[in-house]
């Protein structure tokens, strides 16, 4: 499973690094209860600005991509739940 966290200026301003910390912290939970989760690596990548926010006037930062799912206005709550749901057996 691949998670990409945008590190563009807008996203960084609105907490992208905290999101990254939160997503990375999920590995601890998963490692502690290996049996409950799929045997698949949680790949986490910081990415440069993909330009979504430049194409619109709406506030969409921060942006996180979970596999092919692009999440605008990402919060830890939404992103972590999504990842955990996908990782759980």
């Amino acid at each position: 499973m691949k998670v990409k966290v945008c590190m563009g200026s807008n996203c960084t301003l609105l907490g992208a690094m905290s999101l990254l910390d939160q997503i990375e912290s999920l590995r601890e939970i998963i490692d502690e209860n290996e049996k409950e989760y799929r045997d698949e690596e949680l790949e986490i990548e910081s990415i440069k600005c993909l330009g979504y926010c430049k194409d619109t006037d709406a506030d969409i930062a921060p942006v996180v991509i979970v596999d092919d799912d692009v999440i605008f206005n990402a919060t830890g709550q939404i992103v972590m739940e999504k990842i955990m749901d996908k990782m759980r057996i």
Binding site: V5, M7, S9, N10, T12, L13, G15, D21
Partner: protein, 501 residues
């Protein structure tokens, strides 16, 4: 920064962007009346009970960011009231620095011990047995604490096997190491400015975002637009603050793109401060003074000044890294206008000091700087730059992490005089700093070098940061190892005179 206060952090930062944009775009300041609608759009409340209050609070944030005072809700005043005074291209400080936005404050009750419904009215009821003032009794449903009798010693809480007793406190007061949070007539937080040392901990701890400091970004951007000899210096904790993909070099180049002529690492000033403090320690302790306190944290120094006036002279006379860096820049360009960029809000006060104001002209935080990057559409991680940032030694770059200042001074002093044993002790929150000073006052720290820092973990936990302390600590460690010099004594940018014994 408190990362988990997501909405509060985002509102605060959006306000910085809004004000920086207005400055860059020369927007008519009457538009400030509308700005809250950009930050809180629509007609449905998201954060508080109604959108009117949300916008009212944001309006005060906009004013504070402009450098203006919070308005009184009791009389009619416009958002733009007093705006001409701050529509300038130099720092215009209107006291106080740290302010309560009274109508954002929820008047949280003051510290108390409370029994929760975890209580099982157990047979042993240790809570009643350990209370030194007989304030706990067993009621119909649970234990009851007589708040008039309670002296808040917390023993009932410690004795309860069900964790049924909790200590409740206002977050702002709980975190204040100098007890500067009082209450106004409506029970809302009120800062005793005589006691406050502007560490900014209450600003980041309040879960209602009711406390904020003033900013200088509007005036700074104005200055950047009109003046050519603008220099920036960036505090050692800048590493890793501006995005997980952004290198120190990209940060420095990004700052230049905001209109600064050059950027210098404050770690260079840290090297200079280290040399001064090491020599001062060797010379004065113990013959002239019994112990020496470091001088770099302004809140620590202010705390000692107000709470321990007799011991204030034991704080090092050496100027802080901020001031030393500014002096270094001034030497190269006497007309330099210098901006300090750091994690700290206390530096905003230090820069106003009579002996500092001619060197440091603006002080902004990393958060405020990030607001400027966004306002100016600068994508840091996309900047192409090959020039390395190499102003300071490994020890100087370690100043931002608790223990780093004392380590630098100790190591350098021992290089200057290998025969000396140097004891150090560090405290890195104000409450602990106060405790340390009480011990020192009582003569129990004689011969020591005392490192005081107001933020837990050091400057990397400052109120104006963007990244978590773990993230920054790691990045600082990497950057330390990349330093071209090991100690201040090797730093080629520093005059040899200062390095001599």
């Amino acid at each position: 920064m408190k990362e988990s206060y997501v909405d509060l952090i985002n509102i605060r930062r959006k306000v910085f962007v809004e004000i920086a944009k207005m400055a860059y775009e020369d927007t008519d300041l009457r538009e400030l009346e509308k700005a809250a609608y950009n930050i809180i759009p629509g007609e449905v409340a998201k954060y508080r009970e109604n959108i009117f209050r949300e916008r009212a609070v944001v309006e005060e944030r906009l004013r504070l960011t402009m450098g203006l005072n919070v308005r009184s809700i009791a009389e009619f005043t416009r958002v733009t009231e007093g705006i001409d005074e701050v529509n300038v291209d130099e720092t215009k400080f209107i006291p106080d620095l740290v302010n309560v936005i009274t109508f954002a404050c929820e008047a949280c009750p003051t510290r108390a011990l409370k029994v929760t419904d975890n209580c099982r009215k157990c047979l042993a009821h240790p809570c009643t047995n350990v209370c030194p003032v007989n304030a706990v009794s067993i009621g119909k449903d649970r234990a009851i604490i007589d708040q008039d009798k309670c002296i808040k010693c917390g023993r009932c809480k410690e004795s309860c096997p069900y964790s049924a007793i909790v200590e409740y406190n206002r977050p702002c007061a709980a975190v204040c190491g100098v007890n500067a949070i009082e209450s106004d007539y409506l029970g809302r937080a009120k800062i005793n400015q005589e006691k406050c040392v502007s560490c900014g901990r209450c600003i980041i701890q309040c879960p209602f975002g009711a406390i904020a400091d003033k900013s200088q970004i509007y005036q700074l951007v104005k200055a950047l637009k009109t003046k050519k000899n603008m220099y920036a210096m960036i505090a050692p904790s800048f590493i890793g603050q501006f995005g997980a993909l952004t290198s120190p070099e990209q940060i420095v180049e990004g700052i230049k793109r905001l209109g600064f002529k050059d950027v210098v690492e404050v770690s260079l000033g840290a090297d200079i401060t280290t040399l001064h403090e090491a020599k001062e320690f060797l010379q004065k302790v113990p013959s002239e003074i019994p112990f020496m306190g470091t001088s770099c944290c302004n809140s620590w120094a202010l705390m000692v000044k107000t709470k321990f006036p007799e011991q204030y002279e034991y704080i090092s006379d050496s100027a802080s890294p901020m001031v030393e860096t500014a002096k270094y820049i001034k030497k190269k360009d006497p007309d330099a206008i210098i901006t300090f960029i750091g994690p700290c809000i206390s530096k905003k006060l230090e820069a106003l000091r009579e002996d500092v104001k001619d060197y440091v002209h603006f002080v902004i935080t990393f958060e405020e700087l990030m607001g400027m990057f966004v306002a100016k559409n600068i994508e840091l991680s996309e900047i192409e730059i090959s020039k390395e940032v190499q102003d300071a030694s490994t020890l100087g770059r370690g100043y931002s992490v608790a223990g780093g200042v004392a380590e630098a001074v100790k190591k350098t002093a021992q290089l200057l005089d290998p025969t000396r044993e140097i004891n150090v002790e560090s405290a890195s929150n104000l409450a602990d700093c106060v405790k340390l000073m009480f011990q020192a006052k009582a003569g129990r720290k004689n011969g020591y070098l005392l490192e005081g820092m107001a933020c837990p973990g050091g400057c990397i936990a400052g109120p104006g940061t963007l990244a978590s302390t773990t993230r920054v600590k790691k990045a600082v460690e990497e950057f330390k190892n990349k330093a071209p010099y090991k100690t201040p004594l090797d730093n080629e940018l520093i005059d040899d005179e200062l390095k001599n014994k």
